[in-house]
Symmetry: C2
Subunit: 192 residues, 2 copies
């Protein structure tokens, strides 16, 4: 895998357009819309799971009167890129020291392990907000880190060494598929 060298030589050139106070979710929505509109890939955020308790029929519409948020059992994002199944979770963290493992639920980790076993391209996107750094980390490395680090948090240093910085881009915002393209499809670091 030649990518880490490649990306480091190019990194200094990237200009920090995006991430100006926008949430990671917002940036990903813009990114996924760009991918869809430009026929690059079809990737969506799944709706937040909500347990509906009571509903009223009102003004020709069903109004939900009582409901609760549920913990997701899968990752938030999935879809297709170049014929491959893509699956990922995205998290913003406040700490600049590391990524608290409690951010990912047990069911989500099981899901990540399972889809990898079935041939998925699976990863997490972690943004360290205060550092304005957004990393791509392969699901395999995430699981390995959790199993071996013996800590409640994956240190920033681990991301610096094992992850890939997702470059900011005005149109695409956080162009994570460019990293998928390099890691799995022999692409270079310039574009898709």
């Amino acid at each position: 895998m030649k990518y880490p060298t490649k990306i480091k030589t190019n990194n200094s050139k990237t200009i920090n357009y995006a991430n100006r106070g926008m949430s990671l979710e917002n940036d990903l929505n813009i990114t996924n819309k760009y991918y869809f509109d430009n026929n690059i890939g079809v990737i969506y955020k799944k709706p937040t799971p909500i347990k509906v308790v009571s509903v009223e029929y009102k003004n020709y519409d069903h109004e939900i009167k009582k409901a609760f948020y549920e913990k997701p059992s899968t990752t938030d994002y999935n879809g297709i890129y170049k014929g491959k199944y893509i699956d990922f979770e995205a998290k913003e963290v406040q700490s600049s020291k590391g990524f608290p493992i409690s951010n990912i639920h047990k069911h989500q980790l099981e899901h990540i392990a399972k889809v990898i076993e079935h041939g998925a391209i699976c990863f997490i996107i972690v943004r360290f907000k205060k550092l304005n750094k957004t990393f791509y980390l392969e699901g395999e490395k995430l699981i390995n880190a959790i199993n071996t680090l013996n800590s409640s948090s994956i240190p920033l240093d681990f991301f610096e060494k094992n992850g890939y910085i997702i470059k900011d881009n005005y149109n695409i915002r956080i162009d994570y598929l460019s990293i998928v393209n390099i890691l799995y499809f022999g692409g270079n670091n310039e574009n898709n």
Copy 2:
């Protein structure tokens, strides 16, 4: 594609265990759990999209006090099987004459066309409740039917000729992946 002949010769042997008053969604939940537990594939129903209007913080929990159901812009189900991206919509219909096209929203049709373009295995599952028949119809054939039939409904006859009956099965309920296996992976009609 030799499948339609194969399935017809075997059809008479299938025993009607399932579909005894259970909803299609329920059957699919059981099916997908079976696939997950037996490591056949990882396929989930996406949560219903809900627009949350107001939330109260109550008893250490967020209680949603006002919300509305939204129209889904994608299909309800997706996931991975044998390394391939799987995507489908499932509908139960009351009519025994045909499948009203209005059951599938415009955005969903756009989604189906897009994922097919990117290499997905995409289809719809339609259950004619009164007939107790559940069909698998390829997304390509669905789009083609809508574009050419010039009707508000796809007749049952079209499904009989162009779709595949999903056999009932006590454990797997509606074993749609056995059809995917035959259509795309050269499987036979006996099992996965």
